[in-house]
């Protein structure tokens, strides 16, 4: 099964090009240039990784990250930062980002991080399913 990724960045040409390259590498890619759209899309669809720009109009990347993690704790978010400093990246990690990468991003490095995100999400989902099953077994007292 291919890795499902959502790319969120206000630079349309950037998400289109990166999306095309990732698709050529076998990933299933959705793109959006709007933070609000990203929040809507994640309500309906599940992704292995979300690659999110830290600085976007209408909503700060950290704010989007907080909202996403509050609603879907298992979501794996990789932040793209245009800032030279790592301070914002560290702040993002503290808020629950899986990782961050500085622009311009090396696609091989980004792909590696996406693979790690997928693996981590699978573990979290499996753990969640196990807990749900355990709760059902306890509550039914079979």
């Amino acid at each position: 099964m291919s890795i499902k990724v959502l790319l969120v960045d206000d630079e349309k040409e950037f998400v289109d090009l990166l999306g095309e390259r990732m698709t050529a590498r076998g990933m299933e890619v959705n793109t959006t240039t709007s933070a609000a759209d990203a929040l809507r899309i994640t309500e309906d669809q599940s992704f292995d990784a979300i690659v999110l720009d830290l600085m976007m109009p209408e909503m700060d990347g950290i704010q989007v990250l907080k909202t996403l993690k509050a609603k879907h704790p298992e979501l794996q978010v990789i932040l793209l930062t245009g800032h030279g400093s790592i301070e914002r990246g560290v702040e993002a990690m503290r808020q629950g980002a899986m990782d961050f990468i500085e622009k311009p991003a090396d696609l091989e490095v980004l792909t590696e991080k996406i693979r790690k995100a997928q693996a981590r999400k699978m573990i979290l989902v499996e753990r969640k399913v196990e807990e749900e099953v355990r709760e059902i077994l306890i509550s039914k007292a079979w």
Binding site: E11, E13, F14, L17, L18, E20, R21, A24, M55, M56, P57, E58, D60, G82, H83, G84, E102, K103, P104, A105, L107
Partner: protein, 218 residues
């Protein structure tokens, strides 16, 4: 150096840093697009080597994308250069509208992030003033920051330049809401003093105005 100048210089350095960071962010974005374009060209070359036919149209498109980003980059670097040189001379003649346009281009990402559209109203003829260019830019940025807090529901701020005879010019920041005529503007006193300017609130026009001389003699 006077205390006023000292304080303005320290605050000015902070402003310079903030604008430089905004420029670097924009540059990183254009570099990213060029990076992905170059990467895609490499991908296409690899696929061609493996026998897939190359679509010349796609190569043309990528070339056009790179050219567009280079032009965008060039505009940013030109603005960055003008901004950097704004500290060269204590007093300098500048075209006021062009000076404001340059600042808006530099801080566009910061104003967009607040969801506010900021523009300079077209004027019949450029007004040239002899002023302290860097301190003027700093004052306008502080005014915009304040204005974004007080912007009306239209979320639009317009900088308007109008003559103020005989020897002044007035720059209005329009589009404000919830303005009170006695709002405190004392936080800008240092810059106003260095620019020999004064600030006024015009509630009926939903604006804050900076009245400054056409020429500071130094």
């Amino acid at each position: 150096m006077t205390d006023t100048m000292n304080r303005a210089a320290i605050d000015g350095l902070r402003f310079f840093g903030r604008m430089s960071a905004a420029i670097s962010h924009d540059l990183k974005n254009t570099l990213s697009i060029m990076n992905e374009s170059a990467g895609l060209l490499e991908d296409l070359a690899l696929l061609t080597e493996k026998g897939r036919p190359l679509d010349p149209q796609r190569v043309h498109q990528l070339g056009a994308t790179i050219k567009r980003q280079i032009q965008r980059n060039d505009g940013m670097v030109r603005n960055m250069n003008r901004f950097a040189h704004s500290v060269d001379d204590p007093l300098k003649e500048v075209g006021l509208a062009a000076h404001l346009e340059m600042l808006l281009a530099i801080c566009r990402r910061l104003t967009d992030a607040r969801g506010i559209a900021v523009s300079v109203a077209p004027c019949h003829a450029e007004v040239s003033i002899v002023t302290r260019p860097f301190f003027l830019l700093h004052l306008v940025w502080l005014l915009l920051e304040w204005g974004m807090e007080h912007a009306g529901s239209g979320k639009q701020l317009v900088l308007e330049i109008e003559p103020f005879p005989p020897s002044f010019v007035r720059m209005l920041c329009r589009g404000l809401e919830t303005l009170s005529a006695d709002a405190s503007l004392s936080q800008w006193n240092d810059l106003l003093s260095l620019l020999e300017a004064r600030m006024e609130i015009t509630v009926d026009r939903q604006a804050v105005a900076v009245v400054m001389p056409l020429r500071i003699d130094g």
